[in-house]
């Protein structure tokens, strides 16, 4: 109360005007700082409302686990698209995770300071390349490579691993999408895993080295156990980026609405479904609601992974920030 009276009584002096402006902006900022939260909720609610028509008329289990996709006959089963998304993402992770984690360990534990400073801009560069350009690269380089080299090579083992059966004469496949995605998420995973490794106290390494451990033993027994949560979170974060990636995957994955059985099958991930069909979504009843619920499913998958990894990372990186 006292402070406010003081402000009122001195309304003419420049000091109080400055203080008052500060107070006003401070109060207004409370509202302003709510924008991100409101925006996030607004996106969720808008997609939820727009997908209501289809959620009300079709049982949710049939939508999520039905595999018939015939919009003209009113059948909307998202299983081919959800499984396509998961397949492509898993293939990308299988390729990217070992490479990225090893690279992050190399940069953090082995590389010289000069190399570390040199690599950061290169990773930024890799992360800055637009996804359409990745898509063009995929079409020009990866798809023919999968078709001509990898598929004939790996399908020799298809009698042991049915997942390697060559079913598709072209290279437009889950594997091509996975390779392109792996390159796209690599800079994210490497950058975050590297930061997590840097938070491990140097005393731990010194203690381990002083006991006569080799460098790799130090990493294996002292550094990695401490950094495991954070590295895991970085992988999940990369995974959620891969789930939502649209254009690059759309261009190389073949876009056939089927449940893939082999890594050489074509697939049709959720983002590709949304991007490819927005043109005709007004002409077929319930089609727009179906595409909006596809966005909603995608958003929920991504949000779940993101929130999980952010909570884990927040805990790990807190000491540093």
């Amino acid at each position: 109360m006292e402070k406010r009276d003081f402000l009122k009584s001195n309304i003419q002096t420049p000091e109080s005007r400055r203080a008052k402006l500060d107070q006003r902006v401070r109060r207004a900022f409370w509202l302003f700082s709510g924008i991100p939260l409101i925006l996030a909720l607004l996106i969720l609610v808008a997609l939820w409302l727009k997908s209501q028509p289809i959620l009300l008329t079709h049982p949710i289990t049939k939508l999520l686990f039905g595999s018939a996709w015939k919009p003209q006959r009113g059948e909307f089963g998202f299983l081919p698209f959800i499984s396509g998304t998961i397949w492509v993402t898993l293939v990308a992770l299988v390729i990217a995770v070992p490479i990225c984690v090893l690279t992050a360990i190399y940069l953090s534990e082995y590389a010289s300071g000069r190399l570390q400073r040199l690599v950061k801009p290169l990773l930024d560069l890799l992360a800055a390349i637009p996804s359409v350009v990745y898509g063009v690269w995929g079409v020009l380089a990866i798809v023919p490579w999968v078709q001509n080299s990898i598929a004939p090579l790996l399908s020799q083992w298809s009698y042991i691993f049915p997942i390697l059966t060559k079913t598709n004469p072209t290279g437009y496949s889950v594997l091509a999408g996975g390779i392109v995605l792996a390159v796209m998420v690599a800079p994210f995973i490497v950058a975050i895993a590297y930061e997590v490794l840097q938070t491990v106290p140097f005393g731990l390494r010194q203690a381990s080295l002083a006991l006569g451990a080799t460098r790799w033993q130090t990493v294996k027994y002292a550094v990695l156990p401490k950094a495991a949560t954070g590295i895991f979170a970085s992988i999940i974060l990369g995974c959620s980026r891969a789930l939502g990636e649209t254009m690059a995957v759309l261009m190389v994955v073949g876009n056939v609405p089927q449940i893939p059985r082999s890594i050489f099958d074509a697939a049709y991930p959720l983002p590709a479904l949304i991007a490819n069909n927005y043109g005709e979504m007004m002409s077929i009843p319930l089609y727009d609601a179906a595409l909006m619920s596809a966005s909603l499913i995608l958003l929920i998958m991504v949000l779940g992974l993101n929130i999980f990894s952010m909570l884990a990372l927040r805990h790990v990186l807190r000491e540093r920030v």
Binding site: S33, P36, I43, Y134, V302
Partner: protein, 284 residues
């Protein structure tokens, strides 16, 4: 004999690490090489100085000036609007709310927004535009891109502001300045290089994003003359031309991809140089 096994393991794992590191570098080089070698042969002056003429999508005359201009309009507009919100939010977040629970929530929701895929932003923007009765237009694209860039920019600025030495604001407070004056006259000057980097980072993301403008900005062969006319964009020019069955048109898609890559990498280099240049004006 145990030391020998350890030695082998060490060498083996180092070998694997070098291979992994090499693979990542090699993929970067492979992308740049592919785009350069395929894009350069068909890159002509007409490509960047003309709009599409009749029969362009069958391989006839014309260029992609419409997409270049459209992309610049979209990304500039989106970056400007995002900056209007991102800068005060990041700055005042650290001055007024520095270590409160609410600030944690704001950062948390910014991270959530940062992780939302651009196709979902596109779908959301499209929904809002239908609700308002708008057609696909430059303005719709700009607003959607602003949504996409806003969290990227804010988080990047926030990281920079957090690293400002506390002594700086303490000195300002000691001279009698209010929180607001400290933020806008003292902290702002200190974080200028970081702000420039954040803005250019968001610009680069915005100009390269296709999924969000696909629904909202549309595509046209003309250079947009008002905020309410549709606008073409470079990523979509690449995408649509690659989708045609004609080799001449696909060739143009490659050179459009090259132009886009050059713009994005140029922006990335510019941000590096600019932050280095502006660093002179901040206290180390």
């Amino acid at each position: 004999m145990k030391w020998k096994w350890q030695y082998l393991e060490e060498k083996f794992i180092q070998f694997l690490m070098l291979i992994s590191f090499g693979l990542i570098l090699a993929s970067l080089l492979a992308i740049l090489f592919t785009i350069l070698s395929k894009g350069l042969p068909s890159l002509t002056w007409a490509m960047v100085s003309q709009t599409p003429k009749g029969g362009f999508y069958l391989g006839k005359e014309g260029g992609i000036l419409n997409a270049i201009i459209g992309s610049l309009y979209l990304a500039l507009g989106g970056t400007l609007i995002a900056l209007l919100f991102a800068f005060p939010l990041a700055l005042l977040l650290n001055v007024y709310l520095s270590k409160t629970v609410w600030a944690d929530w704001v950062r948390f929701s910014l991270d959530i927004l940062w992780g939302i895929p651009s196709i979902v932003y596109g779908a959301f923007g499209f929904t809002i535009m239908i609700f308002l009765g708008w057609r696909a237009s430059l303005l719709g694209g700009i607003l959607t891109l602003a949504l996409l860039e806003f969290p990227i920019m804010t988080r990047a600025m926030d990281e920079v502001i957090r690293r400002v030495p506390p002594d700086l604001s303490r000195a300002a407070y000691a001279l009698g300045s209010t929180d607001l004056e400290t933020a806008f006259f003292v902290v702002t000057r200190q974080i200028l290089p970081g702000v420039a980097t954040a803005v250019l980072l968001a610009f680069g993301r915005g100009i390269g994003d296709a999924a969000s403008v696909l629904f909202t900005a549309g595509y046209t062969d003309r250079i947009p003359d008002s905020l309410f006319s549709p606008a073409a964009s470079l990523p979509l020019a690449v995408f649509f031309q690659l989708g045609t069955p004609f080799p001449e048109v696909q060739q143009r898609a490659y050179s459009a991809a090259l132009i886009l890559t050059v713009i994005v990498l140029g922006v990335s280099l510019l941000s590096r140089w600019l932050s280095h240049f502006l660093d002179r004006y901040s206290i180390q």
